[in-house]
Symmetry: C2
Subunit: 296 residues, 2 copies
């Protein structure tokens, strides 16, 4: 049926998908989400996404009515019902309706799964790499929300919009101590002397699923990788840099604040990690070789 929303057990077209105006997800952003990608009908790293959501639910004290198995089955059912081979999946849970604001035990949690066609970003963007700026806002590493994917996503949107207004593609966020944290919708890696460096989770970043894949792949590729505090200067003076998220996978970061990073084009280690990531995706999804990553 193409694009759809699975809501607490039934599928709806996007035009007919409604929730209560009193859902705490709307009133307070009181919920979580996961963004997943479907390749050849298979959801990549579904288990890792469900695990991260379960950790977020613990932080927020949200009690799901579905078991882990039921939630996995629901996501798979929604994707199967859509009939889409290449898709974007947004799994959302909210605390539901009811209770005073600070009554976290109130409400009956609600589950929504939004599936729509997505074939990847344009190939030109991977060739050219992303242009980035420094966001005005900063990641709050003191907040428990920094490490979970909550529906409080407005700071990220504003940073992304800042990038757009500046004619860039992404915005880099520092944390409140002025160290690198992440980008508005992606994690950040830099290459220095053949080593991969990325900020540690305690810097105030969302531990991305693609980030975890890169950390795994660095080990199998024999590349030294370190999670450590990184300064803005380490980005501007890097040999290469790239961004990661589920939808963009591994995206070269070639410019910051109008200046090239390294030589200003996609570097050898970024290329190696991109190949390794795409091989991993192919192995874990269709299993029949290279997935169609960039169809529109």
């Amino acid at each position: 049926m193409g694009e759809l929303l699975w809501i607490n057990g039934t599928c709806h077209s996007p035009e007919e998908a409604y929730c209560s105006c009193l859902d705490r997800g709307l009133l307070y952003g009181d919920g979580l989400f996961e963004t997943m990608r479907v390749y050849g009908g298979t959801i990549f790293r579904l288990e890792a996404h469900l695990r991260r959501m379960a950790q977020g639910a613990q932080v927020l004290h949200i009690q799901l009515s579905l078991s882990h198995q039921e939630l996995r089955h629901a996501v798979q059912t929604a994707v199967a019902r859509s009939g889409l081979d290449s898709a974007y999946v947004r799994l959302m849970i909210t605390r539901g309706v009811g209770g005073r604001p600070s009554e976290l035990e109130a409400g009956s949690a609600s589950v929504m799964i939004w599936v729509r066609g997505f074939g990847g970003y344009p190939e030109e963007l991977y060739q050219q790499g992303m242009r980035t700026i420094l966001a005005a806002t900063r990641r709050n590493e003191h907040s428990p929300l920094a490490r979970i994917k909550s529906l409080n996503y407005l700071d990220n949107l504003l940073a992304g919009a800042e990038a757009r207004r500046a004619g860039a593609d992404e915005a880099i966020l520092l944390n409140t101590t002025g160290m690198l944290a992440e980008a508005s919708a992606s994690n950040l890696f830099i290459v220095n002397n053949g080593r991969l460096l990325t900020p540690a989770v305690r810097a105030g970043l969302l531990p991305g699923i693609t980030r975890a894949c890169v950390i795994e792949l660095a080990a199998t590729e024999g590349i030294d990788l370190s999670q450590e505090p990184l300064s803005l200067e380490q980005l501007t003076e890097a040999d290469e840099a790239f961004l990661t998220n589920t939808l963009m996978e591994i995206m070269p970061l070639t410019r910051f604040a109008g200046q090239p990073i390294g030589a200003g084009y996609i570097g050898p280690l970024t290329k190696q990690m991109t190949r390794a990531y795409r091989t991993l995706v192919a192995a874990e999804t269709s299993g029949t070789g290279f997935p169609t990553l960039h169809e529109e």
Copy 2:
């Protein structure tokens, strides 16, 4: 008709009030709200709330389809339709449905007004004062969201829930430099040697409407008031302290982290400001004397 939701021009019962699951208010917390109080059928400081919401809409680049006058009329209509004399009003706007996350120009803004009966907090709480703790999270004074009342309210909820778990009523939040900012759902004032002190907006707090009333009233009452950086020690060593918000008005803060503030009971300046505030409310609402503040 009692409790109701006015949604883009029509009134619904709470059970029948729905919005799209793809509303950006739900997806990202991409919207704003105002909490107002109705005394004797009149909305207290409606203009100030509408002004603050308009400032928030500018920060978020949300274009409302309603003019200021139309929005005021909508809130007044919703309250009149409810027939409620003593009520809580939650005005919400969201960017609506559509667009990629960072496309702030997308969507058609949506307006919701939730009216329900509210007669105030129990009088015992005003006699006893609130017990407070220090929240684990901190206000991010770097974020433009710190100064607006956005639907990204989860940090506040978590701090409030922390207070509840500790057997307290409210949680005090520091900003990322370790200075006092506000409480999870209220602004903070302390009394030192007959002077009123409150953190300045740049400390990372929401400029509350009740806070603004207190600043006004201090002038008319001839009390010296200063907005300045305040340390946690200044709170623990204060002669008195109180919290302000639209629903609780002026609430004595009598304990922090298990220790009394000052003598541990409502102090003379807190009493004076409470009287002055209630006189102001009475003058601007029913105009016929003391409003019924604490009926259940």
